[in-house]
């Protein structure tokens, strides 16, 4: 596991930090480098609400190395209320609880178990909104 790589991602992983365009108000996630010729300060950092609705979902029964202990696990794409579409794991739910369009919210959970550098990787997942 690469410690610096995960450290670089901390704002996005822990706070769902994206970017907002100072002039148009457009929000994007994850953060991107400026475009060619673009004023690098025109996109400002912004923490997203973590609320959105489920765009699609799947339950994986064949996982990659590092995720074998989680199988089967649900993943989804979430349309955040600020606009961006985000892929992540879903949690605190069974497949039968899920439906396209339902309200979900971000929670912070462990993504990966300790690798060779003994790093516990945490990040965002989404769960159905508790009503």
């Amino acid at each position: 596991m690469e410690i610096a790589r995960h450290w670089r991602q901390r704002a996005a992983r822990y706070r769902l930090q994206g970017q907002r365009h100072r002039e148009t108000g457009e929000v994007r996630f994850p953060a991107q480098p400026p475009a060619i010729g673009e004023d690098p300060t025109v996109w400002e950092a912004v923490d997203l609400s973590g609320r959105g609705e489920l765009y699609s979902f799947s339950v994986l029964r064949q996982g990659p190395d590092g995720y074998e202990g989680l199988v089967p696990y649900p993943v989804g794409m979430v349309r955040l209320e600020e606009g961006p579409l985000v892929a992540a794991q879903l949690t605190d739910c069974a497949e039968a609880d899920l439906a396209i369009g339902q309200s979900v919210e971000m929670v912070t959970r462990q993504l990966l178990d300790t690798g060779e550098d003994n790093v516990l990787v945490y990040g965002y997942k989404f769960r159905p909104v508790l009503v």
Partner: protein, 387 residues
């Protein structure tokens, strides 16, 4: 710009070749391609383009241009490896055509080769997941298969299709592969078996997921002057094009629209002075039914939401309007990752020469092959015409 002609094409059987190495497979494909072209000495080869996506991650070998040039008997020839995930083969075809078009070479070898079965399933899924945007997707445990599954569920929702709407694609692929001695899965399936298959990444089930396997395929391209000296039908690589899109699905305007698939198909057809209606046989990236559906609709062959209905009516069979996967496609011939684009061309050459036997498309003169890297982050299209 000079035209490129395909003067030979050969492939190994697709399979779990535990007893054979990457070099063994590559050598067989190249030897067979030259065996079918006795008039041309390998000493005339001006360049070798190796298409491979998994060399470092699954085959423990880098620098595949020089490595495989040596293995196949082309030592000293300018050689390089082309990597664009699952589109590597299509991109290599494009690069090879450019080498001929610019006058740099008169004879070019394209070799697609993958050795994937030395590692177990988990390593394979992790290696394939590197073809997504890893920070945005793979770190969350998303695989390529699960991304296609997300698109499939969304498609079913938007266009009101049930699971069974996708069955015609693997059923057609298996029916064709059963007649292809080089296919991985040489048996038929039916819609009933499809309905009962266990889930891999819901709603994708086991009979709607390709298997990744070992293999090598070789295509030899020649400039027109050389091609005309040779016996045999003239098969022209009439147009090729590459396009790219965001590796991350979430960054796309509409994830169900494969913009790079459309762009590369239209540019390649334009370069070939052809339209979609001229194409008589298709090879697509079709590891799942949804992949074929989204490609056919994104390039504009079918209206949005309509491809499953046409497939159910038999349009993708060898006798249909858009024959697809005549050698079994990714699903049943097998998914050879970076080599798939070269396997596709081998099959189209068989079709255009009228050598496809029981899956021959009648009077086929124009074929289109398209490979996708990731979920269409790269798309490479080749239009091939029998003169």
């Amino acid at each position: 710009m000079r035209s490129s002609y395909i003067v030979s094409a050969a492939a190994t059987a697709v399979g779990e070749h535990y007893a054979r190495s990457l070099s063994d497979l590559a050598s067989e494909a190249v030897r067979n391609a030259f065996a079918a072209l006795p008039e041309v000495s390998p000493e005339r080869v001006g360049a070798l383009f190796v298409a491979n996506a998994m060399g470092e991650t699954l085959a423990s070998q880098g620098q595949l241009g020089a490595y495989l040039a040596n293995a196949v008997g082309l030592r000293g020839v300018p050689a390089l490896r082309v990597e664009a995930a699952g589109a590597s083969g299509g991109v290599a075809m494009h690069q090879a055509a450019q080498a001929i078009a610019t006058g740099q070479c008169d004879l070019v070898v394209v070799l697609g080769a993958e050795k994937v079965t030395d590692r177990l399933e988990g390593a394979l899924e992790a290696a394939l997941a590197l073809h997504t945007d890893t920070e945005a997707e793979a770190i969350h445990g998303l695989t390529l298969t699960s991304q296609w599954a997300l698109l499939m569920r969304r498609y079913m929702h938007e266009y009101n299709h049930g699971l069974e709407a996708f069955a015609p694609f693997p059923v057609n692929a298996h029916a064709n592969a059963a007649k292809n001695p080089q296919a991985l899965y040489r048996f038929a399936i039916n819609a009933d078996k499809y309905r009962k298959a266990g889930m891999v990444a819901s709603p994708l089930n086991m009979l709607d997921c390709s298997s990744v396997a070992d293999g090598a395929a070789c295509v030899i391209l020649a400039a027109e002057s050389l091609a005309r000296e040779l016996p045999g039908p003239l098969i022209r690589l009439a147009g090729t094009a590459i396009a790219t899109d965001t590796p991350s699905l979430g960054a796309r305007r509409n994830p169900l629209d494969l913009e790079a698939a459309r762009a590369s198909a239209h540019v390649a057809l334009g370069r070939a002075h052809m339209g979609l209606s001229n194409v008589q046989v298709f090879e697509l990236s079709d590891p799942h039914g949804i992949a074929a559906v989204l490609a056919l609709e994104s390039i504009g062959y079918y209206e949005r939401g309509e491809a499953p209905r046409h497939a159910a009516d038999g349009s993708i069979a060898p006798s249909g309007r858009t024959p697809l996967a005549t050698a079994g496609g990714y699903k049943a011939r097998g998914d050879i990752v970076g080599a798939s684009g070269v396997y596709q061309v081998v099959e189209l050459v068989r079709q255009l020469r009228g050598e496809a036997g029981p899956t021959q498309v009648a009077e086929a003169r124009v074929g289109l092959a398209q490979t996708l890297g990731g979920i269409g982050a790269t798309a490479a299209t080749a239009v091939i015409v029998a003169e």
